[in-house]
């Protein structure tokens, strides 16, 4: 006969549950990644490359040395921020995939504002760039949120359409009004000036953008799990009708969440401009916004989990060049792996609550 529920120590059962769900939250994605790696191994084998060589090289390119670690962390910085662009609206049950557009416009706004203040102190320029980038990004994603709220336009589709519009606006301005006449083959905005560049964290080659990302994640975590606003977001994400009935300002929640999300992606654009390129040009449009979606889903939209996941995917991205040089694999190889991981993660959704040794015992 089973133990009566009355005899269970409530406190210890509570902790066991937390432990179990914690173990599950780690075990299920790991299983999914493992499955994706196996499928990817078969895939490269079919492409005529030894899978073990591939994995070894990927590890070396991503985490094998201090040099590759720095490379990985530098790539992780924009991914953390664009992942937040997907994760914040996700608390409200919204699937926003337009981070790329906010990133591109944020980077452009940062470069444009820096061009208007040639004589200002570097710190002032930096702050102006951050503010401009965040406003540009926030406006872009808040637009998608507002359309959802007021007009019922699906935010997934509208945010993706806005990416293409953002890139067109970007090209229009970079080729036209904001173009540096000296940039011939590859149109760019004027260089923001060496003094205004985002510097490296002392003792490393990693720029401060990584710190921006980590701070943003911590703030987002506090917002979501430790404030009334965040609680409201999660209630509305669980059931919008219930949220309306208890009087939550759903429209404000949607707009603010989307605005903050866009601000994060805009900041990612500023980081890329101010730390890597020094100007806004087509190098900004490399798909960080799309990889960010994958990071957010992998982290199950938890801001703190975004940091390690972004580092993992930044590493996969960083190893792409090495795979191309040493094994002759196309540069899209890492896209294939990322796609496989994404599919495996979504499929693994099914495993939650079903792994026998992590299953909650009936009380």
């Amino acid at each position: 006969m089973e133990a009566s529920p009355l005899k269970v120590d409530d406190a210890s059962a509570h902790w066991q549950d937390i432990l179990r769900s914690g173990a599950e939250a780690v075990a299920v994605p790991l299983l999914a990644i493992l499955a994706a790696l196996v499928v990817f191994g078969i895939f490269v084998t079919l492409a005529g490359v030894n899978p073990f060589d591939t994995y070894q090289l990927m590890y070396a390119g991503a985490f094998g040395s201090w040099f590759s670690w720095q490379n990985t962390l530098t790539r992780a910085a924009p991914l953390i921020l664009t992942a937040l662009c997907c994760a914040l609206p996700a608390q409200l049950g919204m699937v926003v995939i337009g981070g790329e557009g906010a990133l591109v416009l944020g980077g452009l706004a940062a470069a444009a504002i820096a061009a208007t203040m040639p004589d200002a102190a570097p710190l002032v320029v930096q702050i102006a760039m951050i503010i401009a980038a965040m406003i540009a990004g926030a406006a872009w994603i808040a637009l998608a949120g507002g359309l959802r709220h007021w007009r019922g336009v699906n935010e997934t589709i509208s945010s993706l359409l806005l990416v293409y519009i953002a890139i067109a606006v970007f090209n229009h301005l970079v080729e036209g009004a904001l173009r540096d006449p000296a940039s011939l083959n590859k149109p760019s905005t004027p260089h923001i000036g060496d003094a205004n560049m985002l510097t490296a964290i002392p003792g490393t080659d990693i720029h401060w953008g990584l710190a921006y990302g980590v701070i943003a994640c911590v703030l987002a975590y506090i917002l979501i799990y430790r404030t009334t606003f965040g609680f409201g977001m999660r209630v509305a994400g669980g059931n919008v009708k219930a949220a309306r009935m208890v009087g939550l300002p759903v429209g404000k929640l949607v707009l603010v969440a989307c605005g903050l999300a866009g601000a994060c992606a805009g900041l990612a654009g500023m980081v890329e401009v101010a730390a890597v390129h020094g100007k806004a040009n087509a190098s900004l449009v490399v798909g960080y916004g799309y990889t960010g979606i994958l990071v957010a889903f992998l982290a199950r939209h938890n801001p703190l989990a975004i940091i390690p996941v972004a580092i993992l995917l930044g590493g996969i991205g960083a190893s792409g060049g090495l795979l191309q040089r040493r094994l002759g694999l196309p540069d899209a190889t890492v896209l294939v792996l990322q796609g496989m991981i994404f599919i495996a993660i979504l499929t693994s959704e099914v495993l939650y609550g079903r792994i026998p040794w992590l299953k909650r015992r009936p009380a």
Binding site: V95, R151, G152, L161, A332, T333, L335, F342, L346, E349
Partner: protein, 308 residues
């Protein structure tokens, strides 16, 4: 060649010709997505399917020398992606929009990976039918060279409309899409119907992709589709899940996409990039005008998550 320079009259002509030329991928993807959405599921992965279809169509056309085999291969590749989407979505608690995004990224990555060797070589293209040979104006003749695939799409749209309304299969798909409970009560296997619908949708989207690489612009490159697939998905909402309206909407979008190049050809180059955004801006505008928070869209399948 007296009338070679039509001047400003060239703009509407070029827009019309562009509408016919550019609309074909929109048409096929939206008809495919129409079938999928009628069954109650949305497949955002069709952007990836389109790129995958463009790549596989081009590759097979190059390897076999037959563009029509390429079209078939593109359709099959699309169907495989559709089946993948349907299979993953049939699992409990899996969100079809998220799976669509994943398959979009995967499809684009896979197409770039496998398509790398086909960027340089020239594959045989699909034939065009010269409807404009009566004219001695080169521009008119050029504009009226209509691709055979477009004509197939023109036939397909009313055929689908008829099939949805009048055939047993059309009724089953609509029942499953409108009310899964009702379909269950009638004894239909919901997941199987959605599997066929998504596979058919993927097949058509793959064919739409093959048009890009085999007819216009007519070669395979990594920048081939910039959002045409996703625009077509949005277009289905605008077209109220009606295949005939999908056809007219595709023409409209094709025309919008052709506006920038048409204006450039008469010397208006400022704002070229903004005109490139015209189809996306148009889609967004139309969605804003036609969607509403308070009522379900007329004609929307009841089980479709995207409108709830």
């Amino acid at each position: 060649m007296t009338g070679d320079l039509l001047g400003w009259w060239g703009v509407p002509l070029a827009v019309l010709a562009g509408a016919i030329r550019v609309s074909t991928p929109f048409l096929f993807v939206s008809l495919g997505e129409c079938i999928t959405e009628k069954s109650g599921r949305i497949n955002l992965g069709l952007e990836g399917t389109l790129v995958m279809g463009a790549m596989s169509g081009y590759a097979i056309s190059y390897l076999t020398g037959s563009p029509w085999l390429g079209v078939l291969a593109a359709g099959c590749a699309g169907a495989v992606f559709g089946i993948l989407h349907a299979a993953i979505c049939s699992l409990p608690r899996v969100n079809d929009i998220a799976v669509g995004i994943a398959l979009m990224l995967f499809g684009i990555g896979l197409a770039f990976f496998l398509g790398k060797p086909f960027i340089q070589p020239q594959a045989p293209n699909l034939p065009s039918i010269p409807f404009g040979n009566w004219s001695d104006n080169a521009q008119v003749r050029d504009s009226l060279r209509i691709n055979a695939l477009f004509l197939i799409g023109v036939v397909l749209a009313p055929l689908l409309l008829w099939a949805f309304r009048n055939t047993r299969w059309g009724l089953i798909v609509r029942t499953v899409g409108d009310s899964a409970d009702a379909a269950l009560a009638l004894g239909y296997a919901i997941n199987r119907v959605r599997m066929f619908s998504t596979a058919a949708g993927g097949f058509l989207a793959g064919i739409g992709g093959s048009f890009l690489s085999l007819s216009y612009p007519g070669s395979w490159s990594e920048g081939l589709s910039s959002g045409q697939g996703i625009t077509a998905v949005a277009l289905v909402i605008f077209a109220r899940w009606n295949p005939m309206l999908c056809f007219w909407a595709s023409l409209l979008f094709g025309g919008a996409a052709a506006l920038g190049p048409a204006l450039q050809s008469v010397g208006i180059t400022s704002g070229y990039y903004l005109f490139n955004a015209a189809p996306y801006a148009l889609t967004l505008l139309i969605m804003i005008l036609t969607c509403s928070r308070d009522r379900t869209l007329a004609g929307a399948p009841g089980e479709l998550g995207v409108t709830r």
